[in-house]
C-alpha cells in the first residue's frame, strides 16, 4: 500500500524529469542537425563542380585565371586562395605582437589599470560590426595608403590592416587568460633568482604559455579567413594575384559575396562559387583541429 502511494506521488515528478530531458535533447539534436546539414549542403553543392561539371580539382586549386563568363569558362581559384591566406596571415602578423603586449600589460605591468580600462576597450573593439570596420577602412586607410604609397590604396595591405584590428580582441583575450592562469610559483622562482621582469616574461612566461598564445593566433587567423564584408570593401576585388601589397586583389569570401547573387542556381559558375565556399569551410575545420591540437599541448 505504502509503495503504491509512493509510486503515485513519483509520477508527476518523473514526467517533469522526462520533459526536461527530452526538451534539452531535442535542442542538442537541432544543433547537430544544423551542422550536419550545413556540411552536407555546402559539400554537395561544392563538389558538384567536379562531379557534375567535370572541372578538374587541381585546375581549380592551382589555376590562375578566374573567368566564369569566358569561352570556355575558366575556374582557377588560386588568386582567391592566395588573397585569403595573405590577408589573414598578414593580419595575424600585425595583431599578434600588439595583442601579446596588451596582455602582458594587463597581467604583469598594470593589472589595475588594465582590468579597469584596457579590457573594456578591447571588448568594445570586438563588438564593433564588421561593416563599420569596412567603412572606416574605406574612408581612412585606403585614402591614406593612396597618398603615401604607389597604387590605388586598395589591396592586401588595406585588407590586412582592417582585419588586424578586428582580430586583435580575439588574440588579446586568449593571451590575457593564458598569462593570468600561469602558476604564481613559476614567476616568483624566477624573480627570486634575480631575474628582471622582462627576463622572466621572455624566458619563463612566454615559453610556458606558447601553446595558448598560438591558439589565440590561430583563432584570429580563422576569424580573418572567414571575414567577408570588411575585406570586400577595401581589397578591390580583382581576381588575379597582385604583384604588390597595394594592388587590387580578391579573397574567397569577397568573390562569393560579390558574385553569388549574379549567377543562376545550379549553373557551372554558381557551382564554382560553392566550391570556393567548400574550400572556406574545409579551412575552418583545419583551423579547429589545429586549435584542438594546440589546446592538447598546453598543460597549464
Amino acid at each position: 500500500m505504502a509503495q503504491s502511494l509512493e509510486r503515485q506521488k513519483a509520477k508527476p515528478h518523473l514526467a517533469e524529469e522526462w520533459v526536461g530531458k527530452v526538451y534539452t535533447l531535442l535542442c542538442i539534436a537541432f544543433l547537430i542537425g544544423t551542422i550536419v546539414s550545413i556540411v552536407y549542403f555546402v559539400a554537395s553543392k561544392g563538389l558538384s563542380t567536379f562531379f557534375v561539371n567535370h572541372v578538374n580539382v587541381l585546375d581549380l586549386l592551382t589555376g590562375l585565371k578566374w573567368a566564369p563568363e569566358g569561352e570556355p569558362a575558366v575556374f582557377g581559384a588560386l588568386p582567391f586562395i592566395f588573397g585569403s591566406f595573405s590577408t589573414s596571415l598578414l593580419a595575424a602578423a600585425i595583431a599578434a605582437p600588439l595583442g601579446f603586449c596588451a596582455a602582458v600589460f594587463m597581467v604583469e605591468i598594470a593589472p589595475k589599470f588594465g582590468r579597469r580600462y584596457l579590457q573594456p576597450v578591447i571588448e568594445l573593439l570586438a563588438g564593433i560590426p564588421s561593416v563599420v570596420y569596412g567603412f572606416v577602412g574605406l574612408s581612412v586607410i585606403v585614402p591614406f595608403f593612396r597618398n603615401v604609397f604607389p597604387g590605388q590604396g586598395i589591396g592586401i595591405a588595406a585588407g590586412a590592416l582592417v582585419l588586424s584590428i578586428m582580430i586583435l580582441p580575439t588574440i588579446t583575450t586568449i593571451a590575457t587568460d593564458a598569462l593570468a592562469a600561469l602558476p604564481k610559483g613559476l614567476k616568483e622562482g624566477s624573480f627570486a633568482l634575480g631575474a628582471t621582469r622582462w627576463q622572466t616574461i621572455y624566458r619563463i612566461v612566454l615559453p610556458t604559455t606558447l601553446p595558448a598564445l598560438m591558439t589565440g593566433i590561430v583563432l584570429g587567423i580563422a576569424r580573418a579567413f572567414g571575414e567577408a564584408l570588411a575585406v570586400q570593401m577595401v581589397i578591390g576585388n580583382a581576381p588575379h594575384i597582385p604583384s604588390s601589397l597595394f594592388e587590387s586583389a580578391s579573397t574567397l569570401t569577397s568573390a562569393i559575396t560579390l558574385s553569388m547573387g549574379n549567377t543562376a542556381m545550379g549553373s557551372l559558375a554558381n557551382n564554382a562559387l560553392w566550391s570556393l565556399a567548400l574550400i572556406l569551410m574545409l579551412m575552418t575545420f583545419v583551423f579547429v583541429f589545429i586549435v584542438r591540437f594546440l589546446e592538447g599541448r598546453s598543460k597549464l
Binding site: C27, I28, L31, I35, I38, V42, L124, M281, V288
Partner: protein, 295 residues
C-alpha cells in the same frame, strides 16, 4: 646592468603598445562618431532611403534591424538555453559528449558567409521562405546558437554545488532544480551574455545578404496587419538591415550623399552596440548585487 636596461626598454615598449591600442580605439570611435553624429537627425532616422537623390534616411533599415533582432532572440533563446542545459547538466562524460562539444566548436567557427549561403540554399530556396526576415532570423539563429550554448553552460557552471545539492536533497526533480534554482542564480551571467550576443546580431551583415535580402519593400507604417506584404510586421517580407545597408551604399551607393549616409548609419550602429554593451554590464552588475545581497 644590461638586463636592467633591457627590462626598462621592454617595459616602455609594452606600455607604448598598450597606449597605442587605446589610441586606436579612441580614434576609431571618435572618427565614426565625429563623422556620423552630425548627420543623425529625426528625419534621417525615420525617413526612407533614396536611391539617386540626396537626403535619404534609414528608417526602414533601423526598424528591420530591431525586428530581426527580436525575431532571432525569440528563436535562439529557448533552443540555446535547452542545449546549454543539456551540455552542462545532462551530458554524460563520454565520447559522444565530447563529439557534441566539437560540433558546437565547429559551428561557432563557421564563417557567417557560409551560414548565409546555407540559408540561401535551404531556407530561401528549399523550404521556400524566400528572402525574408524569417530566413534571416533562422540563419542568425544558427550563427548565434553556439554562443548561447556556451553562455548558458558558463552561467550554470557558476552556480555553487551546495545550492544544487540542497535542492536535490529536498526531493525536487533535476529539471525543477535546474529551472527554479540554478537558472535564476545563473541568470546574471546568462543575461549579460545574451545581450552581448544580441549586439552581435545587430551588426551582422554577411549572413543576411543571402537570407534577409538586400532590399526592403516600401513599408507602410500604418498597416499593422502582419499578413499584408507592405506591413512592417510581416516576417515573410524581404528586409534590408542597417548593417547590410551600410555595406550596400559603400559598394554601390548612387546617392550624392552616400558617404554621409554611410557615416551616419555607422554612427547609429556603433552607438547601438555601445548601448548594448553598457546595458549588459549594468544589468549584470545590478542583478549580481540583487541576488547575492552584496552592496
Amino acid at each position: 646592468m644590461k638586463a636592467k636596461t633591457a627590462d626598462k626598454i621592454a617595459t616602455s615598449v609594452i606600455i607604448a603598445v598598450a597606449a597605442f591600442i587605446v589610441l586606436i580605439l579612441a580614434g576609431l570611435l571618435g572618427y565614426i562618431l565625429f563623422r556620423g553624429v552630425g548627420h543623425i537627425s529625426f528625419h534621417f532616422l525615420t525617413s526612407a532611403p533614396e536611391t539617386i537623390r540626396k537626403g535619404g534616411g534609414i528608417g526602414p533599415q533601423l526598424f528591420n534591424s530591431v525586428f530581426l533582432l527580436v525575431l532571432t532572440m525569440i528563436i535562439t533563446i529557448p533552443i540555446g538555453l535547452g542545449a546549454g542545459i543539456y551540455m552542462s547538466e545532462y551530458a554524460p562524460a563520454n565520447r559522444i559528449t565530447s563529439a557534441i562539444r566539437l560540433v558546437v566548436e565547429v559551428l561557432s567557427s563557421v564563417p557567417s558567409i557560409i551560414v548565409g549561403l546555407f540559408g540561401l540554399l535551404v531556407l530561401v530556396n528549399l523550404f521556400g521562405f524566400g528572402f525574408s526576415l524569417f530566413s534571416g532570423a533562422l540563419a542568425l539563429t544558427v550563427f548565434n546558437l553556439p554562443l548561447m550554448v556556451r553562455i548558458t553552460e558558463q552561467g550554470l557552471k557558476g552556480v555553487p554545488r551546495e545550492q544544487k545539492e540542497a535542492s536535490l536533497a529536498l526531493g525536487l526533480s533535476k529539471w525543477k532544480t535546474i529551472t527554479s534554482v540554478m537558472l535564476p542564480i545563473g541568470l546574471p551571467v546568462i543575461l549579460t551574455g545574451t545581450i552581448l550576443a544580441a549586439g552581435r546580431v545587430f551588426g551582422e551583415a554577411a549572413a543576411l545578404l543571402f537570407t534577409a535580402g538586400m532590399s526592403s519593400p516600401r513599408l507602410d507604417f500604418t498597416d499593422w496587419n502582419p499578413f499584408s506584404p507592405f506591413s512592417p510586421l510581416n516576417p515573410f517580407r524581404p528586409a534590408e538591415t542597417l548593417a547590410v545597408h551600410i555595406w550596400k551604399i559603400n559598394s554601390e551607393g548612387l546617392a550624392p550623399d552616400a558617404a554621409q549616409i554611410a557615416a551616419g548609419a555607422s554612427a547609429v550602429l556603433v552607438i547601438t552596440v555601445l548601448l548594448f554593451n553598457f546595458a549588459a554590464r549594468w544589468l549584470g552588475r545590478y542583478m549580481y548585487r540583487k541576488f547575492t545581497a552584496i552592496k
